[in-house]
């Protein structure tokens, strides 16, 4: 059974390109140009994954509302925001609504495909309870590379895909400094330095919710970050 991806994007050219490339990859694609159409389609049948733009025509925050509604219908369906907006405010707002990732539109199609594949893998493996053998352990940190999940002292850390890849890139070689370009490469994103900084900040905060003394991600000024 092929996977079904919903694309909600108001710009027809981009929508068409995404539909084409995803279909070529063997996915079943439903494309919607506005929030009402998308919502009607979701009510009929939930997609396996949704790629949602935030601004939908005149509905400047339509994507946010759609994400909230979709999340209300299903707690597990992966949602990726794909937007031209790159402010911290939008990223935080989007992730808070339960999206699994937030990408800006300058992401390349191969990167987008990689993310979609990774998210599918994660949702598949979450459904199957058996233990995965690909586990990375660093002290209290446990990364399940198949399921793309992170645990800190046995408790689940709710990381987005981008954040997970960053934590993985850092924790793989503790003590080694990972510069920003390296982090971008590993997380398959192209953003500016201060976006990396805010990603790191968000990751630290997520760990600190579980452990107030968390300080494993160290900033090495002028170079990058490293896992202690």
């Amino acid at each position: 059974m092929s996977r079904r991806i919903a694309i909600v994007e108001d710009e027809p050219a981009i929508r068409g390109n995404y539909v084409d490339v995803l279909r070529k990859q063997g996915y079943e694609v439903a494309a919607h140009g506005n929030r009402a159409d998308a919502l009607a389609a979701f009510r009929t049948r939930l997609p396996d994954l949704a790629v949602v733009d935030i601004g939908l025509g005149d509905d400047i925050d339509g994507g946010f509302a759609l994400c909230r509604e979709l999340r209300a219908m299903s707690a597990t369906v992966p949602i990726i925001f794909l937007s031209a907006r790159d402010s911290d405010f939008d990223i935080v707002a989007g992730l808070r609504l339960g999206a699994d990732d937030y990408l800006t539109k300058d992401v390349s199609l191969p990167h987008l495909l990689a993310r979609i594949a990774a998210l599918f893998r994660r949702s598949d493996l979450l459904a199957t309870p058996q233990a995965s053998e690909e586990i990375l352990e660093r002290g209290p940190l446990t990364l399940d590379l198949k399921r793309l999940t992170a645990h800190w002292a046995g408790k689940r850390v709710d990381l987005t895909l981008t954040e997970f890849w960053m934590v993985h890139a850092l924790a793989r070689f503790p003590g080694h400094v990972k510069d920003r370009d390296g982090l971008m490469h590993d997380a398959k994103i192209v953003v500016d330095d201060s976006t990396i900084t805010s990603h790191i900040k968000r990751i630290r905060k997520k760990f600190m919710v579980l452990d107030a003394k968390f300080d494993c991600i160290e900033t090495v000024y002028g170079m990058g970050y490293r896992w202690k």
């Binding site: 402010s87 900033t219 000024y221």
Partner: protein, 549 residues
């Protein structure tokens, strides 16, 4: 220098306008002359009246003229009596006609000199004198407050001498050709003897006084038997005129003085307001032409208040425009993202197609161009994102020296061809701020220095630890700053780079980011040419003692 010119301007102009009021003394002078004419007329009328009155007493009394008049030269005592001050009745010591003398006696207390002559112009009687003791100089001793005493002193020392130059002063020192006891043949006497009331005005021989005389015929029946001549100097009228003139002048002078002082004060106040407005307007815009702070429009309801308010609104519009310009970059990057996504996804799609070999080349070029474009947008958004993130940046206490040293280590790794020379204090430099921002700022400073550095020259990164501030300086050798750009280097989208064709976008945002971070820490960024070698030093001064927000 501009200030002095402006201040002088308004005050001088108002004082110039004030000279219009100098016409007032002239008008006053005209008025006083009118008054003098009136006084003279009334003096003439009075004299004529007196002459008529005396003549009336003597009409139709022929016996009075029976006595032979004395010859002209037989009145030596008369001569003497004219030279001394008035003694009542002195003129009547040897009356030629005792009876007439008797009648005149009662009139001798007037200020006039009265003669009675017969037809042959022989003097029959005389009374009174032309000379009178000065009545003015009496009184007004040193009494009253010091101000009035000062006023009196000023009047005596400065004004009166001035007036006496302008106005003719009455004097009792004059020669009187009629003092000889005889009435010289004058127009008045002749007229009276011809039977007509005649009024005459003649100067004394030495010209120091003017004598007004009225002559009235004395009738006995239809025959003119003699004449009454009443004479008086114009001194009294003159003195009266002078007094009026002096009083008027004193008042006008005082009014002018008070007026000009008040106007000068007013002009000073006015020009000080204008100057303050100008200073405010100058202070509101800094050397880079950016609005430093809005102008607090004055509440005054006059034109200057209006001016300051319209200055204020003009500055507000300028601020809006500037922020619009700065927001341009953000909007631009946002608007460009969607079409770029269209192109990128299309090219990526194309790349996934089976294509002939030469088509791949074009796709690769298109992708290169796209990644350059994406790079530009990333840089633009870095500046705008920084502006946003500054609002929620968290400050902490950290060792600035360690951050700087770490950064420089990073640059040594990143720019392997470049020598970095770190000069800083050995110990800790505690600082309160956002370390990532400081690192980002140093990134930009060093990237900038590397770009301009001449090959094989060191880049000096200096951290200077002062009492109240830290200074972070990054110096390189290379081309000096173009003079006209010096003030604008730290503005958004300002770049002094020559186009080197190396494909790297030069958006002029690096130093703008430096400025934003420096200003966030309450500091200031500046750039200057180096003194020792040709090159540029960009320095950032950050105040160290900073209250926790």
């Amino acid at each position: 220098m501009i200030r002095a010119r402006i201040a002088l301007g308004i005050r001088a102009q108002l004082l110039l306008v004030l000279t219009v009021f100098l016409a007032i003394p002239w008008l006053g002078y005209e008025y006083v002359r009118e008054l003098e004419r009136f006084l003279r007329d009334s003096q003439e009328r009075t004299l004529a009246g007196t002459a008529q009155a005396v003549a009336t007493a003597l009409h139709d009394r022929p016996q009075l003229f029976e006595v032979r008049a004395a010859p002209l030269d037989t009145l030596p005592s008369e001569r003497a009596s004219d030279d001394v001050t008035l003694r009542p009745g002195a003129a009547l010591e040897t009356p030629e006609s005792p009876e007439i003398g008797q009648i005149l006696h009662g009139l001798s207390r007037t200020t006039a000199r009265i003669w009675v002559v017969d037809r042959d112009q022989h003097v029959l009687a005389r009374a009174g004198s032309l000379r009178h003791p000065s009545a003015a100089s009496a009184g007004s001793a040193a009494e009253g407050s010091s101000i009035s005493r000062f006023g009196a002193w000023l009047d005596r020392e400065a004004l009166q001498p001035l007036y006496s130059k302008v106005l003719q002063q009455p004097t009792e020192e004059f020669s009187d050709e009629r003092s000889g006891g005889a009435v010289a043949a004058g127009r008045d006497v002749e007229g009276a003897l011809a039977g007509i009331l005649t009024i005459d005005r003649r100067p004394t021989a030495d010209g120091r006084a003017i004598i007004v005389s009225a002559a009235h015929p004395i009738w006995v029946g239809d025959e003119v038997k003699g004449a009454v001549i009443v004479e008086e100097t114009t001194n009294a009228a003159l003195a009266e005129r002078n007094r009026a003139f002096a009083r008027l002048f004193n008042i006008v002078l005082a009014a002018l003085l008070v007026g000009s002082v008040a106007l000068t004060l007013y002009a000073s106040w006015l020009s000080s307001r204008i100057r303050r407005l100008r200073d405010e307007a100058e202070a509101a815009i800094d050397a880079r032409g950016r609005v430093r702070r809005p102008l607090a429009g004055s509440n005054a309801r006059d034109e200057i208040g209006d001016l300051s308010r319209s200055f204020g609104s003009a500055l507000a519009r300028l601020t809006e425009y500037a922020s619009y310009q700065e927001a341009m970059a953000s909007r631009l990057s946002h608007e460009l993202r969607t079409p770029i996504a269209v192109v990128r996804s299309s090219v990526d799609n194309l790349a996934l197609q089976p294509l002939p070999g030469d088509a791949r080349v074009y796709i690769e070029r298109a992708q290169q161009g796209l990644s350059r474009l994406a790079n530009i947008i990333t840089r633009i958004s870095e500046a705008t994102r920084l502006e946003e993130s500054l609002a929620e940046a968290e400050r902490e206490r950290f060792d600035l020296a360690r951050v700087v040293a770490g950064c420089v280590d990073g640059y040594r790794a990143a720019y392997r061809d470049q020598v970095f020379d770190l000069r800083g204090p050995s110990g800790e430099v505690p600082f309160y701020g956002a370390p990532e921002l400081i690192a980002q700022m140093l990134d930009k400073l060093c990237a900038n220095a590397v770009e301009f550095a001449a090959p094989a020259t060191p880049i000096i990164v200096a951290l200077k630890h002062e009492e109240n501030a830290v200074a972070l300086e990054v110096a390189n050798e290379g081309p000096p700053l173009p003079a006209k750009m010096q003030g604008r280097l730290f503005d958004s989208m300002v770049s002094v780079r020559q186009n080197r064709g190396d494909g790297e976008p030069h958006l002029g945002l690096g130093l703008y980011i430096v400025r934003l971070i420096a200003e966030f820490h309450g500091g200031r960024a500046s750039a200057a040419n180096r003194d020792d070698v040709q090159g540029v030093t960009v320095s950032v001064v950050l105040p160290r003692v900073r209250a926790v927000r």
